[in-house]
Amino acid sequence: MVTEQTPLTTPEEDEPTGEPKIRATDVSVYYGDKKAIDEVSIDVHTEHVTAFIGPSGCGKSTFLRTLNRMNDTIPSARVEGTIELDGEDIYQSGMDVVQLRARVGMVFQKPNPFPKSIYENIAYGPRIHGLAQGKGELDAIVERSLQRAGLWDEVKDRIEDSGTALSGGQQQRLCIARAIAVDPEVILMDEPCSALDPIATAKIEELIDELRGRYAIVIVTHSMQQAARVSQRTAFFHLGHLVEYGHTSDIFTNPREQKTQDYITGRYG
C-alpha cells in the first residue's frame, strides 16, 4: 500500500525544459467510417508522467495506441494528423514501425508474459533487436531490467521458472521489465493496474514514480486516484475529444471545464 500519496506538484516548479518527447498535432483516428478520436493535440515530456483519464469508450486507449502505431494491427483503423517523436513524424511513409516500437515500449491492461522463462521473457526484446553481444551482456541486461522494475530480488533465484507462474502483480512488473530491456525512450501503459489487487497496484505505482525522468511515461487509467497519485500531467478525454489537458493538480483541484469537474466529482463516467 502506498503509505503517503505522491504530493501533487505545483505548477511553478515543474515546467518542462526543452522540446517535448512526443508532440501530437490534430490527431484523428477512424475505425472504418467511425471517428474514434477527434483532432487531439498533446505534448508529452520525459520529465513527467502523463495520465489519460476519461469514461470507458472515450478513446484514451485508442489514442495511446497511436503513439506506437499498435493501431496498425487493426485493418480498419486510420490515423490523420501528425505525431512526432523527437520531431520526427512517426506516420511518415519511410518510418520503420519495428524501430519505433523499440523506442516506444508498451505495457498492457492484462499482464501478458510469454509462456517462457522469466529470463527468456526479458531477453526477448534484446535478442530480436541484437542489443547484446554474447551471454554476459544479455545477463547484465536481464538483471538490470529486473532491478529497475523492482522484481530482481523476488525472482533472482528462479529466473528459469516460467513467467506465467508469477503472481499477477509480478507478471505486470515482468512486462514492465520486458519493455525496459530494449531501453525505450517512452513507455506507454494501458490501464496497467486494472487486473491487479491494491497491494500489487501500489507497487506498480511506486515503480512508475521511480521510472519517471528516465523514460517518458504515458499511462491510461480508469482510476482518478491513480492519476492523481502518479502523474504530473493529466489529459481528460470524453467521446473522442480531448476536453482538458494540464497539470494534474489543476485538473483535480481547479478544472477549467465543467465536464472535467463533473467527471472528477463522479457525476458521470
Binding site: 519495428v98 519505433l100 516500437r101 498492457f108 501478458n112 509462456p115 526477448y124 526484446g125
Partner: protein, 461 residues
C-alpha cells in the same frame, strides 16, 4: 423371418399407439376442469409409441439373430436330411439351394439331394415366422395394456419420454462402443491363434516377409513371417516421407491463414484445404500411381538411376503427405488461433516483426496443439492403404531407398485376407496379428495426442 417384418410391425404398432394415445390425451384435456394436462398430448403419444414399438423392435433384433439357426435345426431334424453329406462344401451347397427354392429366390432345384429339403424349409420358415410375429404382437399388446393403464390426465408422460430418449441415446452410443470392443476381441483372438503357429519373436523381429499361402499348415516356417520390413515400410512411407511433406506445408499454410491472409481469402482457402481431406483415398491412389510414380521414375532415370522402379515408396509417401496436409494444418490453425491476442500484441509492441512473433512466441505457445495434430496425422497416415497399394506395391523390401517398391502393414493385411489361403492358414491369420499391432500403435498415438491436446487446452483457459 425377413428382418423387415419386425421393423414394420414396430413402426406400425408404434404409430397406432401414438395416434390412440394422443387422441386419449386430447380427450383428457377436453374433460379437465382447467383444460390443462401435466404433459402435452404429444408426450402421451410418444410414451405409448416407445412402450409399444420399443419391445417389438428389440425382440425383432434378437429373433432375427436366432431364427436362422432354429429353422436350420428344424430342417436337419426332418427325415429328408438323413442322407446329407456330414460336412464340407457340398452339404452347404445343398442346404443353400433348398433354402433358396423354399424362399422363392430360385425357381427349381439343380442339385437332386436338395429336393427333399425344400418342403421342410418352407414349413420351418412358416412356423418360426408365425411364432415371431405372434410373440411380437403379444409384446406389443402387453406394452399397450401397460401404457393405457397408466395414461391419466395427471400422468407425467413428459419426464418418462425424457427418460426414454435418454435410453435411446445410450443405446446408440453403446453400439459404437460394443463394435469397437467386438473388433478388439476378434483381433486378439485371431492374433493368439496366429501366435500359436508362428512365434511372436519371429513375427516382431524377423526381417523376411514372404508368407506362402500354399504351404502346409501343420509345420509353419516362422522365418517367412518376419514383419520388420512391413513396419519399416509403414514408418518410412507414413511417418517419414509423408510427414516431410505434410508438416512444413501444413504448418506454413496454417501460419499464412491465421496470421497473414485477409478474411476474404481465408474464407476461400480454408474450405478448399478441407476438401483435400474429403477426397477419397482411391482418387489419391490414381494420382499417385498414374501421375506421380511415373514422373518420379522418369526423373530418377534422367539423373542416371537406371533400375528405378515404377512403384516407389516416394510416390506413395508424397501423395500421402498431401492427403494429410489438412489434418496438420487445421489442428495447427486452431492452436495458433487459440494463442491469446495479448501474446501477439506483447511481442509486436516489443518491436518484433510478425514473422519473429510467429517463430518465437506463437509457435512455441501453440506447440502442444501442433504436435497433437501431427500425431493424429501420423496415425491416419500409417493406417492408409489405398495409396500404398497403388503406388508403392506389394513387395516387402527392407530398404532406405525411397525409389524402391515397398509395402506397408495395411497393404499386407488386405493381401493376406484376400489371398488364396484358407481362413485358418497362418498366412491369413497373420493379417490379424498385423492389424493388432497397427491397432496398438495408432491407439498409443491417439492417446498421446489427446492428452497433449487436453493439457494444451487447460493452459489458456
Amino acid at each position: 423371418m425377413s428382418s423387415a417384418i419386425p421393423l414394420l410391425l414396430a413402426i406400425g404398432l408404434g404409430l397406432a399407439g401414438w395416434l390412440v394415445a394422443r387422441g386419449r390425451a386430447w380427450k383428457f384435456k377436453s374433460e379437465a376442469a382447467d383444460g390443462r394436462l401435466a404433459s402435452l398430448p404429444v408426450y402421451h403419444a410418444w410414451y405409448a409409441a416407445l412402450w409399444i414399438g420399443g419391445p417389438v423392435l428389440l425382440f425383432g433384433v434378437v429373433w432375427n439373430a436366432i431364427c436362422g439357426n432354429l429353422i436350420m435345426q428344424h430342417v436337419l431334424a426332418s427325415p429328408g436330411a438323413a442322407n446329407l453329406p456330414a460336412f464340407g462344401m457340398r452339404r452347404d451347397a445343398i442346404l443353400r439351394e433348398a433354402q433358396n427354392v423354399a424362399s422363392g429366390a430360385a425357381d427349381r432345384v439343380l442339385i437332386p439331394e436338395a429336393e427333399p429339403l425344400v418342403e421342410p424349409f418352407r414349413a420351418a420358415t412358416l412356423l418360426y415366422d408365425g411364432i415371431g410375429i405372434a410373440v411380437a404382437l403379444v409384446l406389443a399388446l402387453i406394452g399397450a395394456v401397460w401404457v393405457f393403464l397408466r395414461l391419466k390426465p395427471n400422468f407425467a408422460a413428459r419426464t418418462k419420454v425424457e427418460r426414454g430418449v435418454l435410453g435411446v441415446l445410450f443405446l446408440a452410443s453403446l453400439v459404437a462402443i460394443l463394435t469397437t470392443f467386438g473388433i478388439f476381441v476378434t483381433l486378439v483372438f485371431e492374433t493368439f491363434r496366429f501366435f500359436g503357429m508362428v512365434s511372436p519373436v519371429d513375427f516382431l523381429f524377423g526381417t523376411h516377409w514372404g508368407p506362402d499361402p500354399m504351404a502346409a499348415t501343420t509345420s509353419t516356417d516362422g522365418s517367412r513371417y518376419g514383419a520388420i520390413p512391413l513396419f519399416w515400410g509403414t514408418i518410412f512411407i507414413g511417418a517419414i516421407i509423408a510427414m516431410i511433406v505434410a508438416i512444413p506445408l501444413g504448418l506454413m499454410s496454417a501460419i499464412y491463414l491465421t496470421q497473414y491472409a485477409n478474411p476474404t481469402l481465408r474464407k476461400w482457402i480454408k474450405p478448399a484445404l478441407e476438401i483435400l481431406a474429403g477426397v477419397p483415398t482411391v482418387v489419391y491412389g490414381y494420382f499417385a500411381a498414374l501421375t506421380i510414380a511415373p514422373a518420379i521414375r522418369e526423373i530418377a532415370v534422367s539423373v542416371g538411376i537406371a533400375n528405378a522402379s515404377s512403384e516407389s515408396a516416394l510416390a506413395a509417401g508424397l501423395v500421402m503427405g498431401v492427403m494429410i496436409i489438412p489434418f496438420v494444418s487445421s489442428m495447427a490453425d486452431d492452436s495458433i488461433a487459440a494463442v491469446p491476442q495479448a501474446m501477439r500484441d506483447g511481442s509486436l509492441a516489443m518491436g518484433a516483426t510478425t514473422n519473429e512473433t510467429i517463430r518465437r512466441v506463437l509457435i512455441p505457445a501453440a506447440l502442444p496443439g501442433i504436435v497433437a495434430g501431427i500425431m493424429l496425422a501420423v496415425s491416419r497416415a500409417i493406417g492408409e492403404t489405398m495409396i500404398v497399394v497403388m503406388a508403392a506395391g506389394y513387395a516387402a523390401n527392407l530398404s532406405a531407398n525411397p525409389l524402391e517398391a515397398m509395402t506397408t502393414v495395411t497393404v499386407q493385411i488386405v493381401a493376406m485376407l484376400t489371398g488364396e489361403a484358407s481362413m485358418d492358414h497362418p498366412a491369413t491369420l497373420s493379417a490379424f496379428a498385423l492389424g493388432f499391432v497397427l491397432f496398438i500403435i495408432t491407439l498409443i498415438l491417439n492417446v498421446i495426442a489427446l492428452r497433449v491436446v487436453k493439457r494444451f487446452r487447460e493452459a489458456y483457459e
